[in-house]
């Protein structure tokens, strides 16, 4: 497998340097790397549309891929599996990724479970889920409209309420 096969479009913005696939938007942003025939996509929240395009392409060509936080593209980063799981959840709670992944039919939580099985860190899912779910379900009272409001949309909050059940089903399957 080569990195050049992972490029989803004919755009000149994509380039490969030192074993990493980059996308140029003002500066080169690391997008993917290959390690032991497994593709690791850097889940960059600043360019969600490009990440969704890349994921769609990877699903199309049928390769095994997982996500990593963009900070892991730096060689000096301290490796911590908990950070990856938290980044999965935080990205999924963002509007653009939530709508985009549902639109292309990508099962992000299934991907997370597969990565945790590979790295043998399934117990970390529960604690990170609780942390992010608490943030998502948080509401505050808006005195101007006289009702409880949240910074997350209703669809995301509904999804997060039953998300751990979906993860458990994915674990069994």
């Amino acid at each position: 497998m080569e990195l050049s096969n992972l490029i989803p479009s004919k755009s000149d913005d994509w380039n490969i340097k030192k074993g990493t696939l980059f996308y140029k938007k003002l500066q080169n942003i690391p997008m993917a790397k290959i390690d032991d025939d497994v593709v690791y996509v850097f889940l960059e929240c600043s360019i969600p549309r490009i990440v969704i395009d890349l994921v769609r392409h990877l699903m199309k060509i049928g390769v095994e891929f997982y996500f990593l936080p963009p900070s892991w593209s730096h060689p000096a980063t301290v490796i911590d599996n908990s950070v990856v799981i938290k980044h999965y959840f935080t990205s999924y709670s963002k509007d653009k990724f939530f709508i985009g992944f549902n639109k292309i039919g990508f099962d992000m939580m299934g991907n997370l479970v597969n990565w945790c099985k590979k790295e043998d860190c399934i117990p970390l899912i529960k604690e990170n889920y609780n942390e992010i779910n608490k943030r998502v379900q948080k509401t505050y009272y808006d005195w101007y409209v006289n009702k409880e409001v949240s910074s997350y949309s209703d669809d995301i909050r509904e999804e997060f309420r039953t998300l751990y059940r979906d993860i458990q089903i994915s674990m069994i399957l």
């Binding site: 942003i29 900070s71 980044h87 935080t90």
Partner: protein, 106 residues
């Protein structure tokens, strides 16, 4: 050629310039789009942020660009213009025409 690619390039130059200007104001650090707190934020950490989207527009409310005296020979409204200043395009043109007339070319 001032095509779409050129306009995109010029927009990027402008956005980079504006981002450079505000980076120094984040002395206490900043959270990027991925939720990572950075003590010394770089331009990369601003991509996709609210500031980045705001800086992409060409419109400005600054005095030096909004109320700038712009020269155009087709402009109907007259306005005061100091022609004694150097580096004026129209003044150069007047001088050039004078020289041409002296030599009988025009």
């Amino acid at each position: 050629m001032r095509d779409r690619a050129w306009r995109r390039y010029k927009q990027d130059v402008k956005v980079l310039q504006r981002l450079h200007d505000i980076i120094c104001t984040y002395g206490y650090g900043r959270k990027d789009e991925n939720g990572v707190y950075l003590v010394n934020p770089s331009i990369k950490s601003f991509i996709g942020s609210e500031e980045y989207c705001r800086f992409k527009t060409y419109t400005t409310d600054k005095h030096d660009s909004r109320y700038k005296t712009k020269y155009s020979p087709n402009k109907k409204n007259s306005y005061y213009r100091d022609n004694n200043k150097d580096g004026r395009r129209e003044l150069d043109k007047v001088l050039f025409l004078k020289i041409l007339k002296e030599y009988g070319i025009k």
